[in-house]
Amino acid sequence: MIFETILSQMPYLVHGLSVAIALLVCLLSLGLVLGLLLSVAEVYGHWTLRIPCTVFERIFRGIPAIVLLLLFYYGVTDFIEMGSFMAAVLALGLRSAAYQSQIFRGAFLSVPQGQMMAARAMGMNKFQAIRDIVLPQALRMSIGPWTNEFSSELKATSLAYVIGVVELTRQAKYIISNTQGNILIVFAVVALMYFIVNRAGNWALYRLENRLALPGFEHRGDA
């Protein structure tokens, strides 16, 4: 009975999943670009640049995601007109930028200092040295920890329902409330869907990591 219901509602669950994935892709992309800039500023920037970046990072890591979502949808929209989805991308994307900046910062710091030094000694300026020498190495090292961020943001997309983004978890909630039960079965299906996306994403990321792996640097055996 419930299986029939779930089956008949499957298109809506899948649609919810596609909303979640779209949100995930947007927020991770925003977080990636901004997180990289932040990390470069935090590692190589002058202190006048470093301090505001650190403040940004602390604020966006410290405030609970739900509060951020509400703030963006109901506060920031005073200045910029945008819908629920855009607000969710901004709120969660900026938060992800704060987290990702720490991943990249770690990666930058783990590139041996000699690399930067050798680049500077050749006559490269700081920007060239970061772009051509340090960044390509740091990005490779970030892929591993980045899988964690991918997994946790995937699940964080479910929070966007508070500002009216109807994603997978909200669709599931509809089924549960319409049948006034079946929490476990419905959520098991949802968990499976998240799990599949998570595995698929991590599989792709680990493949990328192996593709880009350099001789002499440890490969992760377990993908």
């Binding site: 739900i66 109901y74 005073d78 009216g164 409330s177 319409n178 049948t179 006034q180 039960g181 929490i183």
Partner: protein
Amino acid sequence: ETLTAGVEAAFPPWAYVESGEYKGIAIDAMRAIAEDQGMDVEFKDLPWPSLIPALVKGRIDLLVTGLNVTPERADALDFTIPWWENDDEILVPKDSDKNLITAMCCGATVGAQGGATQFKWLEDNLASNDDVDVTLRGYEDYVTAIEDMLAGRLDAVVTSTDTAEDFIAKGRPVKIAGTIQQNQPQALAVEKGDPKELLGKINAGIMNIYKSGQWAEIVHKYAPQSSIRDIPTSMPDYVDTYQGDIPGYSK
């Protein structure tokens, strides 16, 4: 003119989503009211925490959801005339031999939705009363509370009448062990002060669909057993929009 109505769409029989469509008493009634008043309406599903800021920021024009009228909420919202009245029901498992009295005393554990009026009532009247030995437990939603009762960890769950009836209608193995008379009015709501001057139109619309019999039809479509109460139902005097002249409604 298109109205945007905010609903918490996980709240049958009032408002829910099935196969991507908004359904429920409040949904259909609101559509009828809008038609009656020559307006269009669209719905936006927002959970409770979002409803007030959404109203204030103009993301929605009114709340159309199974909204209990309470003094605290009346401070934050302006209510339309109440179109419904609820009592509270004590739900127990179908095979339970508990009654109104035994389900609510003597070491019983009782559940309710943490933010609901039922929870507050139980807290004020039972849990804080030293003579009654009852443990009260709050849940994020009623479905979990019912599941928990069916798992044997609760003796009873207290819900509003229409929710209780919906559980039974959906075939959950629960029954009503007793009713607590509350006469709790429900209404639609707009932003405090009604800056968009909607109250008059909505109130008029409510009265029109009530008088035309459309209301009874809609209610019975979603809750066949429900008896229709006169609209407006009881109008508590702590609600200031119910004092003096009520726009769109003459006594």
